[in-house]
């Protein structure tokens, strides 16, 4: 095991973490501002990927595909908020879980109805494909570097939006006291629709970016949804900063665990059982991390008590 390989794996972990951040930012924003547990977030991620695949196939341009993903996911978000979520603000979390779970099924079968059961084609555009050589001689896929860049840019954009703009002030006010800002004359239902659309658009954008290097298929959102929930629980539900730190932590833990644990067990076990034990433990590692964080900080790293 060389230092270069370790650096490459750390980059991989960072990239996976930033990808997770794009998905979990929307989830945590919606929960923080609106108090809604949105299980259909993974479906919005899938909508983004399918819209990007369809858009890219129709226009031949990956960038237009990304635009289509943002639009489609945001529109789907608005429709879902107006038709379903709006009726759930005063209900308890169990009702929300039930309704948004139904949305998962509706989105999955609806997507199958429109696009069929076979995975769609969406590829990295030629100007982003292939590997570049980083300082130190590490060949690294250009597209993954781009995802790192976009992830950081979105994180910075979200921080600015929330800290510096009028909408951000309202979002933060809505988080701390929704009755009061309604009493102050802010149209709370419009704000909620906006936040939900923003969260959905982020999920769809992530789906489109990730779809280019993964499989665009029905049901692709649910495994990511579980990871996104782990991320926001670690970071503290409702906190964007928490989602960022949580996502990087999960990304690094998962990637480095998968890589290092089999090597570690190989020191005192025979290779084949070290591989089996190491990979079994590696797949549990992020849940162990979550449990560890919750023992010491029951509300997550940046959660409010």
């Amino acid at each position: 095991m060389s230092v270069l390989l370790l650096i490459e794996q750390i980059l991989n972990g960072l990239q996976f973490g930033l990808m997770l951040f794009l998905i979990s930012a929307g989830l945590t924003l919606i929960f923080g501002v609106m108090g809604i547990i949105n299980l259909a977030h993974g479906s919005l991620y899938m909508v983004g990927a399918f819209a990007a695949a369809a858009g890219a196939a129709a226009t031949g341009s990956f960038v237009l595909g990304l635009g289509a993903a943002l639009m489609a996911a945001a529109i789907a978000g608005v429709i879902v908020e107006v038709l379903v979520i709006r009726r759930l603000y005063d209900r308890d979390h169990l009702d929300q879980v039930l309704a948004t779970f139904a949305l998962i099924l509706i989105f999955s079968e609806g997507t199958r109805w429109v696009f069929g059961s076979f995975p769609l084609y969406l590829d990295v555009p030629s100007w982003l494909s292939g590997a570049v050589t980083l300082p130190g001689g590490i060949p690294y896929p250009l597209y993954r570097l781009t995802i790192i860049g976009i992830g950081l840019a979105v994180a910075a954009g979200l921080f600015l939006l929330i800290a510096k703009t009028r909408v951000g002030i309202r979002i933060r006010a809505g988080e701390s006291d929704r009755e009061m800002i309604a009493a102050l004359g802010v149209d709370i239902s419009k704000l909620y629709t906006l936040v939900f659309a923003l969260g959905a658009a982020l999920a769809g954008f992530a789906g489109a970016l990730v779809g280019a290097i993964q499989s665009v298929q029905v049901g692709m959102g649910e495994p990511m949804l579980i990871l996104a929930f782990v991320t926001i629980v670690i970071g503290g539900i409702g906190s964007i900063k928490g989602a960022f730190v949580g996502a990087i932590l999960v990304g690094l833990t998962d990637t480095l665990g998968r890589f290092l644990l089999p090597v570690l067990f190989g020191v005192f076990m025979e290779p084949s059982s070290a591989t089996a034990v190491g990979s079994a433990l590696a797949s549990m590692l992020i849940y162990i991390l979550m449990a560890g964080v919750l023992i010491f900080r029951p509300t997550g790293l940046y959660g409010k008590a």
Binding site: P119, D123, V124, G130, Q214, P262, S283
Partner: protein, 378 residues
């Protein structure tokens, strides 16, 4: 009292007559929703195409969706056996679902024809006279890949598969045949979608080739990311990551990859040609190996219907065992454990016009059975 008995006897007789005229009732439990639906749909379409082409009106097929969940498959099997009273069950795609359903339905005296899953447990000690596998024993394509890797002169292979029973069987099957060294061996998480960490290890390992078994979406993700990484070592895999439904989603990233399969659309025999043409005409897409397996399963069943009555289980299974049907694979026979003995081919991914598909470039194993047959006592 007497009148009642007579009435009962008459109605029983009427029922018996009705049952005679009913022909065969088939219960198909397969995956028609969720991420794995493409496979179930292909098996179903292949099966129904053969039923339609046979022109028989005495075959009734009840189709249900198992959603790729073992507990639902078990419920459906109970319903099919008890309420629908089917004679034959078929359709299951996944090995874990097959393990949940097959032993119980064969124990209840029903016949099960597997169009896909072939777990080792059902081929060895758990074999049953009423259980026939028309596809392959799970290890077969992996063994063929090992044999091909030897032929291709690979001496240092990096192998990876998901950490679940079929993944472990896959690597075991490959290693059973492969004579070279292993540069590395990785079990990934089932359902994993990001393979950056594994690809980095492949690059650092000094391997001369990569063998991977990653069915469905996992394979699509791996192939795209591998092509993008610029590692460029030759890839070998079983057909599951290169079937017709998946190739279009992978695109050019799969071009030139060698994969092992018991079927290819260019196997040169009249049955296969007619199958490929009629499937395209009926459904507007190229058939996959799953579709060919569904088609062969139905034709096997239809061949036995001509020889025996399905109510006479012993005679019917004896007729099935003869495998007296025209398979899309050409020659096809059953081994002692009711699993196929067949040739396994090496295919290469090519582009025909704007469609990605496979071309057979050689034979990896001839008349290949499985190692578990020795443990089977029926």
């Amino acid at each position: 009292m007497k009148l009642r008995t007579i009435l009962a006897a008459v109605s029983m007789a009427a029922l018996a007559v009705a049952a005679q005229a009913e022909g065969v009732k088939v219960g198909m439990i397969t995956t028609l929703s969720g991420g794995g639906a493409g496979l179930g749909i292909d098996v179903r379409d292949g099966f129904m195409l053969a039923v339609k082409q046979s022109g028989r009106s005495d075959i009734e097929v009840v189709i249900e969706d198992d959603q790729q969940k073992p507990e639902i498959a078990v419920q459906l099997a109970d319903k099919m056996v008890q309420a629908e009273q089917v004679d034959i069950l078929t359709g299951i795609i996944w090995s874990n679902l097959a393990m949940a359903v097959v032993p119980s339905v064969t124990a209840q005296g029903k016949i099960y024809l597997s169009p896909n899953a072939g777990p080792s447990a059902l081929a060895g000690k758990g074999c049953h006279p009423n259980y026939f596998n028309v596809a392959w024993q799970n290890d077969a394509l992996h063994e063929a890949a090992g044999a091909y890797a030897n032929d291709a002169g690979f001496a240092n292979a990096f192998i990876l598969a998901p950490n679940y029973p079929a993944g472990q069987d896959a690597l075991t099957g490959f290693k059973r045949m492969f004579k070279g060294n292993l540069a590395g061996e990785i079990y990934t998480k089932l359902g994993q979608t990001d393979y950056a960490a594994e690809i980095a290890q492949i690059r650092a390992s000094g391997a001369d080739s990569v063998y991977f078994f990653l069915p469905g979406g996992m394979g699509i993700s791996f192939l795209k990311q591998y092509a993008d990484s610029g590692v460029g070592l030759p890839l070998v895999g079983p057909a599951f990551s290169f079937d017709q439904g998946i190739l279009q989603a992978v695109g050019a990233a799969a071009l030139g990859v060698k994969n092992t399969s018991q079927w290819g659309k260019d196997i040169d025999n009249p049955v296969n040609k007619a199958f490929v043409e009629s499937f395209q005409a009926e459904y507007g897409r190229l058939p996959s190996l799953y579709a060919s397996q569904g088609f062969d399963t139905a034709n096997l069943m239809i061949s036995a219907m001509g020889k025996a009555d399905v109510k006479d289980t012993a005679a019917f299974t004896a007729a099935l065992k003869e495998a007296d049907f025209a398979s899309t694979r050409g020659k096809f026979s059953f081994g002692a454990n009711n699993h196929p003995v067949q040739d396994i081919y090496v295919r290469e991914v090519i582009q025909e016009g704007d469609v990605f598909t496979n071309r057979i470039i050689g034979t990896a194993l001839t008349d290949h059975g499985d190692v578990y047959a020795a443990e089977c006592q029926m």
